[in-house]
Point group: C2
Chain length 306, copies 2
């Protein structure tokens, strides 16, 4: 594939940025990829493992001359990073991001984008519970969705080019407005993460069930929650604080529904429970048919002596 | 390995029983394994795929002459199956089960066990979201825990023999009393399952987020919940109805905790959220160190074009 951008700058070098670098290299989508991370330790790690063609000591240096700048920092830090780099953005360049919340990012980043620079927010729906510069891999985005959330007046050509980049990295691409994005993600991601964190916290708190029992016997369901609840704390703190309304709305619905099921348990309404559990099975089938998960039992976890 | 039992009877031929059969065969742990399932279709499937050395048309026929009888039916059906087979149990035989709830099973099954027959309840902490006679595989129990829950007066020799069988099938074995078992499982399994069912139900209900969006964008966390919420509806209905007290207690704690986190989101208490999310990460590490899950990102799911 011929390069889509001459120079791409990745600001923040965690799981998503490092996966983007390897995916860009895999398909030859950029002439040069520069990178910057706030922590010196991260920059050193990046240099050691060959993450980015050039690791810079300042965000401004990484951004200079770039055709595409992707902000890959926690949502709460996007605004200050945008402010920091605004003066060195090349005319005609595109600024994008990979944040899990879009209204807040648009509000915080938008005002810093100078005239003549395009702003096309984006969100790849891909990740693992690992974080940091060494956690990335080229296949992370393969067959996963990336949502582009253009703002008013986004240049169609800039959008098309960013779409081509994400498709080149293996993603399927959809466009969506920011309000809808934040609600959909509250359902498919933000509420499930908070619920998983909560359940793991409860288990950790219980004195009658020792940690060691919770850990030994986790295979019965709990360990799936622990994977989600092992995600990056800073990233998730910011997600909940910046997608407050939609997350609280979905959690409200969740609590209502949980109370209805608790009531069915208390009153012994087996029919309600059975019907509910049958209905939820169908969604799983839909996800597998859509190629978004494996049908292999237990996610294809290796069963056997370890 | 030399056989531990001359004849084992499996009553109910779902995921656990079929996995037991293949695990018993793998290690040569029984001379003959007979099987029975209530549904004719299941019996036919079992015969077709070679599940059990002999598939019988009645439970009594399967049980006759067996040294070990394992009840592998939903918890709510254990009592009536025990009643049905009581008269043909061989003196000196052991009756066990694989139910996810132990107090209820002991209460329902215990009274039907004749003098001279041993009753050693058990619960293998292993499973997948698949069910039925074709879902079993020999490796299901490898490195997983099986909890033996002996009742008052359980014969030590009968317990030791059942332990040897489970170890032969690949399990680690612990003993525990029924009350504690039901509480531990409420934490590690029953509450997480109800929570996952609830979250998937909420997503299914939301009209503004279409099914197709929930499915397409599920990789962001939600799809882990859908795996759990795809488990067998009959089995889980019975679990909640028969481990009512412990499940409701844990769900009460969960709701309390969820409200505290919701409040932190509402008031913008980022420090509380960050500390909470950091603490839950440690449990995940414990589970991986204990060999109860893989450290591979995303459970080792295959990332790539599918």
């Amino acid at each position: 594939m011929s390069p889509i951008y001459d120079r791409v700058a990745l600001i923040g070098l965690g799981l998503i940025a490092s996966s983007m670098f390897w995916a860009i290299k895999r398909a030859g989508l950029a002439g040069e990829v520069t990178g910057y991370a706030r922590s010196e330790e991260t920059r050193e790690t990046a240099r050691r493992i060959g993450l980015c063609d050039r690791v810079c000591d300042t965000a401004q240096e990484a951004v200079e001359g770039a055709d595409l700048v992707v902000l890959c920092v926690p949502v709460g830090a996007m605004g200050s990073v945008a402010k920091d780099i605004a003066s060195v953005l090349k005319p005609g360049a595109t600024v994008s991001d990979v944040g899990s919340v879009k209204r807040h990012v648009i509000r915080d980043v938008g005002p810093h984008i100078p005239e003549g620079v395009h702003f096309v927010p984006a969100h790849p729906l891909a990740g693992t519970e690992h974080s940091g510069p060494e956690s990335g891999f080229a296949e992370l985005f393969d067959n996963r969705w990336c949502l582009l959330v253009p703002v008013e007046g986004s240049d169609p050509e800039a959008i098309a080019r960013l779409r081509a980049l994400w498709e080149g990295m293996g993603s399927n691409v959809d466009e969506m407005d920011a309000d809808h994005h934040d609600l959909v993600l509250a359902v498919t991601s933000h509420a499930p993460h908070l619920i998983a964190y909560t359940m793991v916290g409860v288990a950790d708190d219980l004195r009658r069930v020792t940690d060691s029992e919770v850990i030994k016997y986790s295979a019965a369901g709990f360990r799936d929650f622990t994977r989600i609840a092992a995600s990056d704390p800073t990233m998730w703190r910011d997600v909940f604080l910046t997608n407050k309304d939609a997350t609280l709305e979905i959690l409200g619905r969740f609590t209502e529904e949980l109370f209805a099921l608790q009531r069915a348990i208390r009153t012994g309404d087996g029919e309600l429970l059975f019907d509910y559990f049958t209905r939820t099975r169908a969604i799983r089938r839909g996800i597998i048919d859509a190629g978004q998960d494996t049908d292999a039992p237990d996610f294809g976890r290796v069963h056997g002596k370890s």
